[in-house]
Amino acid sequence: MEWKFPDVGEGLHEAQVVAWHVHEGERVARDEPLVDVETDKSVVTIPAPVSGVVEKILYHEGDTVHVGEVVVVFGDGSGDASGPVTAPRSAPAPARVEAAPRIVSPEAPLSEPRQASDEREVVLATPAVRRLARELGVDLRRVAGSGERGRVLADDVRRAAGAHGEAAEPGTRSAFVEAVAEPVAPARPVASADTEDERVPLVGVRKRIAENMVRSWSHAVQVTVVEEVVADELVALRERINAHLGPEERISYLPIITKAVASLLSRFPDLNASLDDEAGEIVRHRHRNIGIAVDDPGGLLVPVVRDADRLSIRELGRELARLIEGARAHTLTARDLTGSTFTITNFGSIGGLVATPIINHPDVGILGVGPIRRRPVVREEVIVPAWVLYVSLTFDHRVVDGGTASRFLVGLGELLANPAAFIAEVL
């Protein structure tokens, strides 16, 4: 029989063997002194737990023995049957204590959502889903829940969000810009017989957009600075890149611009930041996640290219294509739609030379990219036609000062105007 050093509680984990009262081969009777051990508290004598022959002593004087370790092995041969160290569990016990529950009132099962007959429907949804619904301007009551007991899940909400309004028409755009910011068609006012004003409730997507605008506007102090970029080299560069990539992977200017921006932000960390008003801290983001504003009948979506600075232009092309298509098809996940640290918005496809885009709260900067058009520029004192791109940077003047913003734009212009600079600085 192996005897282990017992756990007698009182925080005892180990003890040192001081002296054995027996040696191997010796016969010992139960309760006779077996071994002295020293604990934190004192030296204690442990009496033999059984009668028998000491077959093997595993810990000797000076050794430290831990609770649970086998200290000594006893051999049979004494036939001592009384006083087992551990009791057999199978014997019926007159002293056994029966557990007899007497439950008074079992819990009323609360499985059904309560419906008040004359009142509002109760929709089952987690707080997170409720928030999503609010952000997407979805009325939960009108959503078919696909979860248990009719619970509304996040995807149910997104699907409902995508079903609003008409599908987007990819209208005629400049060949140079793929990402389109298409304004949402305003609700057609119902013709009225008299000349009374039209009243359309501000609800749903429109309401949400309005709220987002207000929030951005009321937080950031927004200033826009505009720079002109001569884009002849950029145009040529893109053609050569597309020749390399092949017809399946043709890119627009957006991947190139996105790459330039993402790379440049490492030199301008204050532009890749947010202001935590509550904590009073400027949060400089570690990652450079570029949001790309995509207009869509379901609302203004901003899919995000994560760590855009780490992707090659080809990879950016693929990722942007995936995101924009996903945005239109409403298949993007929350991860695709959140976490931007800086945003690019492409307004140029429809019109407008420069713009003053509104920051995507809580970022501190947004870059508006206009169309690339033929415009007169001055070269060596002569006015010549050239491809020209205007870039408009709106920044939060609480966090970013004008000098920084201007320097950023100048830097961006340099990268876009000169492929050698692009290769040298960005890649």
Partner: protein, 358 residues
């Protein structure tokens, strides 16, 4: 009230001295009864030693031995009538046994077995009390209930010299005296509260003299003298039943063992002192007396020892059988009836216990 010094007012009552000589009369003790007492004490001593070993062997947890206090406990317990109540501390396994609580409960207590406080229905004993002196107030309440219900019975509450310092003890004696309840406060002054000796526990010379403060009678008795204890307490219990209580008894004894298995007396007291008190051992003096009276011989002494060991074995057997207990019992006596919350928690607990078992 007798005027005079404390020693004069509270003399140490004794009938059987440490050499086993009768210096008073046997009183309520009969020779054959005394033999039974001797047998019982030997068995209790063997049980106490066995319990100590069981802790060392890892079978039970912390155990508080009563070695040396057998006469005080049995003397007090034997003074109780059938309808009387005993309200013990955590060291009174001998007294509780004499009043119907099986000895394995002492092992349950050290083991942490749920049955540790499950006193048998017919035993008028409260469960062992861990909180020092808390039981003194319960003793007052029990005694008072006997009075209010006009039962011809009384109660005896035990507590130690350390407990005598607690506020609850004072409150209890005060309440008991104001309401004149049928209670004997029985202090087992064993001279040590873990490592704190009597001299540091109190300034007064005796505990018995506190009776003066409450306007009640107090007595001091040699706690290792079974004859003196049982006679004194019998008389006081009888008077208490008649409404003359409460009373305070200080039984002067000695804790021959450690405070508990977690304690090492060698750290704070001398073996000289222990040796002196070994000579006042309650069992030794009875054995001497019985031998001198020709009521027992060497062979019978050996027989008593053997029988004692057998009886202790029986206690161990019952203890081991009782280890097969359902953990769910933890939930069944929190309230008279399971609340819905407890019922749900109990189910989870049982499921978990089964998982662990596998």
């Amino acid at each position: 009230m007798v005027a005079g010094s404390i020693a004069e007012q509270f003399p140490l009552l004794q009938r059987l001295n440490q050499d086993g000589e009768l210096v008073g009369d046997l009183g309520v003790v009969t020779p054959s009864g005394f033999l039974e007492v001797y047998r019982a004490m030997v068995m209790l001593r063997r049980f106490d030693e066995r319990a100590w070993n069981l802790q060392r062997q890892g079978v039970i947890g912390t155990y508080a031995p009563f070695k040396g206090q057998e006469a005080a406990q049995l003397g007090a317990a034997h003074a109780l009538d059938e309808a009387d109540w005993l309200i013990p501390t955590y060291r009174d396994w001998a007294a509780s046994w004499a009043r119907g609580v099986p000895l394995e409960h002492g092992l349950f207590f050290a083991k942490g077995h749920p049955a540790m406080g499950a006193v048998p229905e017919d035993a008028r004993v409260l469960p062992a009390q861990v909180v020092i002196a808390a039981q003194t107030l319960h003793g007052v309440g029990i005694a008072w209930s006997l009075k209010l219900r006009r039962e011809h019975a009384a109660a005896l509450v035990t507590f130690g010299d350390g407990a005598a310092s607690q506020g609850d003890t004072h409150e209890a004696m005060n309440f008991a005296s104001v309401f004149e309840v049928p209670l004997v406060f029985f202090c087992e002054n064993n001279h040590w509260a873990i490592s704190v000796p009597l001299e540091r526990q109190m300034h007064a010379d005796t505990i018995a003299q506190r009776a003066l403060a409450y306007g009640i009678e107090g007595y001091r008795v040699d706690g290792n003298d079974y004859v003196a204890v049982v006679n004194l307490v019998s008389e006081l219990m009888a008077r208490a039943r008649e409404g003359e209580g409460p009373f305070l008894v200080e039984a002067v004894t000695y804790r021959l063992g450690a405070h508990t298995t977690a304690d090492d007396p060698a750290k704070y007291r001398s073996s000289d002192e222990e040796q002196r008190w070994e000579e006042r051992d309650p069992i030794r003096r009875i054995e001497r007396f019985l031998m001198a009276q020709g009521l027992i011989d060497e062979e019978q002494v050996r027989a008593v020892q053997e029988q004692a060991l057998d009886e202790v074995e029986e206690v161990l057997e019952r203890f081991h059988r009782a280890l097969d207990v359902e953990p769910a019992v933890l939930f069944d006596h929190v309230y008279a009836e399971l609340t819905p919350q407890l019922a749900a928690q109990r189910d989870r607990f049982v499921a978990r216990a089964r998982e662990v078992e596998r």
